[in-house]
Each structure stands twice: as C-alpha cells, then as structure tokens.
Symmetry: D2
Subunit: 222 residues, 4 copies
C-alpha cells in the first residue's frame, strides 16, 4: 500500500467541521524569529502579512486575537532542559528586543500576549483557560515556526478540546522540508490545513449573533 492508502485506511486526514466562535493564535512573530539580524530568525515577511489580514478581520468581527512570545528569566534559562537542545532560544531573554512582537503584525494595545516557555503556546500557560473563558470553540493557528512552536501549539489545541485550522501561508519556517513535513502531519491528524483566503472568507461569514463576547461586566455571552 502507498502511504496515502495506509493513512486513509487508518482513518486520518478527514476534514473537521468548524465551530462558530473562533480565536486567532499568532505564535512567536517576535523579532527573535522575524528579524534576520538574529541567528534564530528567518525572513517571514509574507507570512506576517498573510496573518495580519486575518487578525485585522478577526478583531473587526469581535473575535480574540492572541499573540505569543518566548521570554525567559535568567534562572529559568539556566534550568529548563529544552534549552539544552534548542540552545539558540536562550537568547530570548525578557526585556530584550528579541521577545517583542514584530510591529509588522499590526498588534494593538488591547491584544493579549501569552508568555510561553517551550514550544507549545498551551504548555505552562493559561491559554486554554483564557480560550475557554472566552467561549472559543475553534482556534486558527498561525506564526512561527511550523515545525516547532506551531506544530506543538496545534497538537495541544486539539488535545485541549478545540477544533484547529492552520492557514499554511500564515506559517513560517527556517527550511522548506520540515515546514512541509509538519503541515502533512497536522493535516492528517490534528487540524485542517487551509489558506488565509479560505479562513478570511469563513470569518466574514460568521454572523454577529455567533460572536463570543467575553465581558466581566455582568453578561457572559450574547
């Protein structure tokens, strides 16, 4: 059997139905990954622009847009075993420019920023709680890198109970082969791999009555 036949027999690759209350997660579009002056970075200009189109639209439609950054404290950087493998990540120290969200993303002052400590935006953070509190049922995962933090975030998102969409042109990586290999795994097992066009179209169709409106002023939902 071909690989495609083996995977089909095993039941992988089905398209997942979408929810009605999406949130956009923008993974690690920080200067440490986007500014090629730094050794851990790559050129992500196109992926940032494609993501910005979705985040601008999501914000306009009332859906949460959440950014992530890796930002270490000194003792943490000395202690975490991940940094013995991904040694370049030790440069991502709190307070440095490397951990700031790239302004080209169009981030606004009201957007939450999750400080993460490993590959996944969920591990060791309160992202799942925030999404649940906001009533989200679907997450759109974008950012960098596809084969690292995006993959790990996607796996945790679906394990945390969310439907996952990954617009491939919104995901950046340092090299093509790992980018494609991980999109393949994601499409087969964890989330629907689609495009910014398709997600933008879908965001435009979800009506105001479907929006989640998290507020701590007495009303939970509309």
């Amino acid at each position: 059997m071909s690989q495609a036949e083996v995977y089909a027999k095993a039941g992988f690759g089905a398209a997942a139905p979408r929810g009605k209350r999406p949130a956009v997660i923008v993974v690690d579009f920080t200067y440490g990954f986007t500014d090629t002056a730094y050794p851990t970075a790559a050129n992500m200009t196109a992926e940032i622009a494609a993501t910005r189109r979705l985040t601008d639209l999501a914000r306009e439609r009332g859906f949460p847009v959440i950014y992530t950054t890796i930002a270490y404290q000194p003792w943490e950087a000395e202690t975490l075993p991940w940094l013995r493998k991904a040694t370049g990540m030790k440069a991502l120290m709190a307070g440095t420019r490397l951990v700031e969200i790239d302004r080209a993303t169009g981030i606004t002052a009201d957007d939450p920023v999750i400080v993460k400590h490993g590959a996944s935006a969920f591990h060791g953070t309160n992202l799942a709680a925030l999404l649940t509190a906001a009533g989200a049922d679907t997450v759109i995962v974008t950012g960098a890198t596809t084969s690292g933090c995006v993959r790990a975030t996607v796996v945790d998102a679906v394990q945390s109970g969310f439907i996952v969409l990954v617009p491939r042109d919104c995901c950046a990586d340092r090299a093509a082969a790992p980018h494609e290999a991980n999109l393949y795994d994601i499409a087969q097992k964890y989330g629907d791999v689609t495009s910014a066009d398709d997600v933008a179209n879908w965001l435009g169709q979800i009506g105001p009555s479907d929006r989640l409106r998290p507020r701590n002023d007495g009303e939970v939902d509309q």
Copy 2:
C-alpha cells in the same frame, strides 16, 4: 466519634517524610496584598520577616527561591471567570505597583518570579516544570493568603508530585478563622504544617552533597 477520631480513622494527618532537594515558594507577597493602602491587602509584616529568614537561608544553601505575583493584562482581566468572584483581584494589573514583589521580602535579581493568573502558583504556569527541571522533591510554601493562594498552591504541589511543608508563621491572611481552617485542612490532607524554626533547622542540616544544582552548562546534578 469526634472529628479528630473520624479523621484519624480515615487515615489523615500523618507526617510526611521530607525529601533532600527543597525549593521555597513565596506566594503573592506583592504590594497589592502587603500594603494596607490597597483594599485587597492586610498587614503581613511578621509573616514576611519569618519568610525572609527561610529564603535567605535557602539561597545561601543553594536551594531555589521562587516568588509569585498575580499580574493581569486588560483582556485577561475582562475574560477570566475567577475575577467575577474575586473582583478585587482585577486591580492587579501588569505594570502597576500592586503586582511588584514587596522589597521587604529580600528578593534578589536572580530569583525567578512566576506570573500566575488564579489562586494556584501551578495552574497556568510552568512552575511544576521548573521545579522538576531543578530536581526539587520538596516544596516549602509560604506567603499570602493562607485560605486562598497558599491553599491552592499546596494542593497543586502535592498533586504535582512534590512533598509539601507549610511553616504556619510564614503564611498570612486577612482573617484568623479562614487562616486556621485552611491550615487544618492542609495539615490533615496535603502537607506538614510546621514552623519557620523547624524549617530553618532542617535547611541547615541538608548537606551540600544533597543540593540540587541546576545548570545548563553541561552538568545536571552534582
């Protein structure tokens, strides 16, 4: 049967053996809790001083000292359901004085600070991973408030696989009855409730060969 007899029959209240690699967790000794100018605070002068004695000693002996603070971003504060019950906590906004660790604790620039989002220092943070990475087997929980964040941190610590010690004179609260009721629950079910004297004595006895020395420079442990 008396309550004491009922609890003894059910097997509660046993003293737990201590480990050899402790870490001290100082919960929420931030100005929002310690400076009585703020409505969420109480006078915690004595408990801060008792805690400082332990943290100074732990640092000297090479054991980690980890502080926590609650610090919210605006969207987070609007979204989390905890803040619909504990409404006073909404004032603990990132960037304000309320979320700074009280200097009276003797915190140093090298001590890590965990930003937490609810009652427990473990929930939605990477504290368990950090303690595991550092090789800790026992946590000494101090701070404020006994009936809120200390209790929640203690329960999560033992659930996360750590032995728990709680020096009662290092734990502060707004009122005596909840303080005592929660120390009772802790002593019966989750950790040994003891004193700063006893913990200081124990920290002094653990020899250098038992110390954990987390380093990302090639060696894991001594």
Copy 3:
C-alpha cells in the same frame, strides 16, 4: 473591621453571572466514600439523593453529567506523595468495590467517569478538555468531600475558565466544621454556593436552543 467587612472591602463574595451551557460534575460518590463499612466513608445518603435530582434533570435536558472516582494502580499508590498524607486513600485500588460509583447516584451506562489521582477532578485528567470540547461554560460541582475533593475541583474549575455553582445540599463531608469553612471560602472566592432547588429551577429554564450537543458526526453545536 469585622471579617465580613474585610472581605467586602477586598471585593469578595460577588454573585457570578451564569452561563447557558452547564455540565454537572459529581465528585467521588464512590463506595469508598459513601459506604460507612469503609473507614474513609461517611453517611452521604441525603447528599446523593439531592445530587440525583439534579443529574436526572440535567441528563433529561441534554447537559453532560460527569462522575469522578479515585482509582490507583499499585505503583502509583506507592509513589504519589499525596498518599503519604492522605494515607487512607491508598485503599482506593482499581478493580475494588471502593472505587465504583455508588448505584444510588443513578449513574447510567452513557455517563463518563473520570479517573482522578488527587483531590481535584481536573488535575492529571482530561476533564477540562472534555468540558471545552462539549462547549460547557458553567460547571455545577457536587459530591464528596466538601473540604477536600469538592474544594479542589471548584478551584480548578474556575481557574480553567468555567463559571462554578455549588449546591450546598449536594456536597457531603465527614465533619461539619470543615464543610462549612470550605463552603465559606468557595462562596467568597470561587463559585456561587446555592441549593439543589435553585439549580434545578435554573436547569429547567435553560431552553433547548441553549443546549450544547457535542457530537462527532459532523455538527458541533446547535
């Protein structure tokens, strides 16, 4: 100031708005806690009956009813530090009658049972993911014991992003003082403490269009 004034000033004790998609969590109504032949148990007949009224109604209205049990494997029982404090819990071995849900609860074959390992129904389980996947926004916590597993479950529920309701007559404990002390803490800080009557009335008012209907057959929600 009185304790009531101190708590009011600090912003505690507010009633939380309810969601529209509740789930009922029934904590540890297993024979090890409900059959007084066992040393860890107490008479919980009235609390089981009050809970059953809510679970029967919730099931009829299409809302999830989730039971929990503590059930250990031998190596786990030898390893977990919680069992050095709560030594009586070591008897709760997988495969024994002590870990079975009491039939008096009216549990049905379709109801999920979460195997938990500590006090909280969330810690080390996939309960948060299941509730999120089901679209729940509010959890009704019942069961045993108020001062142990119910308290820990309530704290984790609100930290996980859910609104929490606790009907006091559905929560059982071994002794009155810890029961009341913990309901006080819960009411002040984590969830609304109410009655089975009030919850039943509310469940009856939430219309079919508000129900969550989790299904893996192509539709996410109604």
Copy 4:
C-alpha cells in the same frame, strides 16, 4: 545556506547531558497499533523487541517502566475534536482488545499503565506528576507512532522539565517518511535520538546509588 547550516546557526541539534534517574515510557504498543488485523496498526515486531530489551534491563536496574494506552469511553469518543481528525482512533474503546498492551512487550503486572486521551502521554494524564514523584530526571521515549504519539510525548516531556532520549530503533510508524521527518525534528529540538544499544549501555552504567527508589513507606530516595 543549507538547512544544516541554518539549523546550526540557530543553535539546534546539541547533544543534551543525561541525568541519573531515568524512566522508560512505552507509548501505545497496544494491539490496536501492533496487530495488523486492525486498520490503525502496522507491523512493529522489531521495535517491540528492541524496546523489550530496554524495559527488561530498566526493571532489573530498578528504574520505572511506564506503558501508555489510548482507551475511550463512549461519550468521550463522541466529544473530543481530535477524533474528528484521527477518526480511526475512535475504535480504541475501553474494554476492547485494541487497547490492551501487546504481551510481546513483556509488560509485568507491576508496571503502571497510563490511559491517555490524545497524542501526548502527558496531556490530560498524571504522568508528569508520577515521574516527578518518582524522582525521574530523564525519560526514554519508545513506542508508536513516531510521527504522532511519540513526537507529542517527547515535546511534552522536555517541556515538563525532563531530559529526553529517543532510541530510534524502538520507535515504530506506519510509513518511513513521517518517521524520519519527526526523528529529525526531535533530534534538532527536543531530545537526543540514539539507539537501543546506546541506551542499554548507559542503563548498565548507572550505579545502584543513583537509582531512584520511590516508596510510600517512609523513605523518599536512597
């Protein structure tokens, strides 16, 4: 720059120092994955044999050997979004032969079995707590499939504070390309990819004084 140069510049692919207290995790060597009568399975005979050599040795040296299985309850299978993508996994129902550990692994009655609900052995389980309670500092991850549950378990292990070793001949997959692509990502970013020979040699060198000996009878460590 070549991909190798890009990765080297970014600081990936370093060998991680090993700890002294390992545990072996055997991921999903259950009949649903190992018996080719089932559509989700593949021939894993060689990888099971290579793993058994390590688990036999680890057990003999006093190190924990922990198995995992995916086993669903009906409501869970209907609710989890992962099963909308990995639809074949819905067959892994509790009580069926598919979820039993393959006897060819040499599993013993004393070995713990973790019931997992998604790809990672850590997500929604108490595995991290168990490993921490046992004093483990290093995990050896084996099992199936490399591109799915092994990868997810590796990422969570390092994020949870453990050093990770992956003997490549102990990891099985349905197809060669995803197997290799994921071992590449693991070796670059999360854990050392090595062989059963190398791990066996290392396990043989760690002396009895380094063993962890978790016991709930009064002593924590040797």
